[in-house]
Amino acid sequence: MGFDVGYLTNNFSEVWALLLQHLQMTGLALLVAIALAVPIALLISRFRWLGLPIMGTLGILYTIPSLALIIFLVPLFGLNATSVVVAMVIYTQVILVRNLTVGLNSINPAVIEAARGMGMTAWQRWWRVQVPLVLPVFVAGVRIATIVSIAIATIGAKFNAGGLGKLLFDGIQTNRYDKIWAGSITVALLAFALNALLLWLEKQSNPLRRVKLS
């Protein structure tokens, strides 16, 4: 029952493989989630009336417990990693879309008008003005979504998706505390590491990071 890292050190290659699996699921889910969230947020910022129904629906989905949500998805996508990844995408939508929408709406309209009045095309306004201004808020959203995804991926082991959760569930079933330790330590380290990385990116993406505001 006490602290035991024996399993982790003795079976490092197995844990490493599970870690990579975990990362793969998280990464794939985030890529799909971002690819969905950007156009949705753009739609909302252009057509304000879409905000309420879309954010409402995503909010409701977010309240469904992850275990239940994955169970709903199994008949559709099978008892495998796909169901888990889809659940992660659905969960992270509300976070990403909300952050992006808030970020886009917080840009001073005078700045956009100036960009238009100076003769930038829509494409130039997007890449030279909107993207850099929204980036810090967006990266903050990605960071939270990443943490949520890591947590859901852990439950994924129950659904035959692999990942570090496998160590936890195996450990609980066979009463192997060393396995539980190995799984929980690795998941925690992964979450901490990605959080730190994204926090750093968040600071880097802020154009005012170099200056002290008086």
Binding site: N108, A110, V111, E113, A114, A115, R116, G117, M118, G119, M120, T121, Q124, V129, P132, L133, P207, L208, V211, L213, S214
Partner: protein
């Protein structure tokens, strides 16, 4: 050339009860500074924003230098027109230098050319480049931000400048200084400037001519002096505060009210002032010195006499100059 012509220009927004701009026809000459003045909702900003096609008219046509602006690509047109807006609209993620470089970059200037232009413009708006080049807008005061906003608008060396209440959010002292800057820049650069304002003092101070608007229509388009002395109707009269005699005197020149030197002229230590001074200055001098008569000098030579009666007549009739 940079003549701006409005030909029966109208704009009715969807579901609006009346047009925001209603059959406006007028012509702004090259190198002229014209202020569009009127109460909020009179269509002044809408009229301005049609010139760089941020709004498209629903009727009529606008010509810039003889070309119908609809024949140009909107982005190309805008790159040729400087645009200054309220609260500066500077890009907060770019340094002062990068903000100024936006239009030159869009125009495809070379890097050294752009760098030279940035320094030149910062000198022009009196922000030493060494100190301000690398600052971010958040590190500037409101007045400094608007100076950068003006430098940015001038960056592509446009012949035409549109200014939409650029000093609306700036304190009175800074604003006065900026208005003087605009006049100085205008003397130096001779741009065609269309300037939207709801502030009468600002308009009178800046404008070569003023377009007075009301409910989408031009009520009067004239020089400040004519607007004060011959207002088209009671709306213009009350908008400009034409009953404010002191203000009116401030716009009239001594030369418009003085009489020629009488044959028996002797100086006799009369206080003197220049023919280019305003009648307000003259009144002030009379009140200060208690003199009955002022002698008017030009290039060091006496050219006329001015008494309190002359000032009073001029204020009542207002047909000098």
């Amino acid at each position: 050339m940079s003549i701006i012509q409005f030909d029966q220009v109208s704009l009715r927004f969807p579901r609006a009860p009346r047009p925001a701009v209603d059959r406006v026809t007028c012509q702004i000459s090259a190198g002229e500074l014209v202020v569009i003045l009127g109460p909020s909702g009179c269509g002044k900003t809408t009229l301005l924003k049609m010139v760089n096609r941020l709004y498209e008219p629903t009727g009529g046509a606008i010509y810039l230098g003889g070309t119908n602006i609809r024949q140009l690509k909107a982005t190309k047109l805008r790159q040729q027109i400087g645009y200054v807006i309220q609260q500066s609209g500077l890009f907060p993620h770019m340094t002062v230098a990068d903000n100024i470089a936006v239009v030159p970059k869009l125009l495809g200037w070379s890097k050294p050319q752009i760098q030279m232009r940035i320094d030149e413009l910062l000198h022009l708006v009196r922000l030493p480049p060494a100190e301000y080049r690398h600052r971010y807008p958040a590190q500037l005061s409101g007045g400094q931000q608007q100076r950068v906003g003006i430098a940015r608008a001038l960056a592509g060396d446009p012949a035409t400048l549109l200014m939409d209440e650029p000093f609306g959010a700036i304190d009175a002292i800074t604003r006065t200084a900026l208005l003087d800057e605009i006049l100085r820049l205008q003397r130096q650069l001779q741009k065609t400037i269309l300037f939207v304002s709801h502030d009468v003092e600002e308009a009178l101070r800046l404008a070569d001519r003023i377009i007075v608007m009301r409910e989408g229509q031009i009520v009067q388009f004239d020089t400040p002096f004519k607007l004060l002395t011959q207002p088209a109707d009671s709306f213009v009269y009350s908008l400009l505060g034409a009953d404010d005699m002191v203000r009116q005197l401030g716009l009239l020149r001594v030369s418009s009210a003085m009489i020629g030197l009488p044959a028996d002229y002797t100086n006799g230590n009369k206080p003197s002032l220049s023919a280019d001074d305003s009648l307000r200055d003259a009144l002030s001098l009379i009140l200060k010195t208690g003199a009955q008569e002022l002698s008017v000098v030009q290039d060091g030579q006496p050219v006329g006499l001015l008494t309190l009666d002359h000032i009073r007549e001029s204020a009542l009739v207002g047909d000098g100059v």
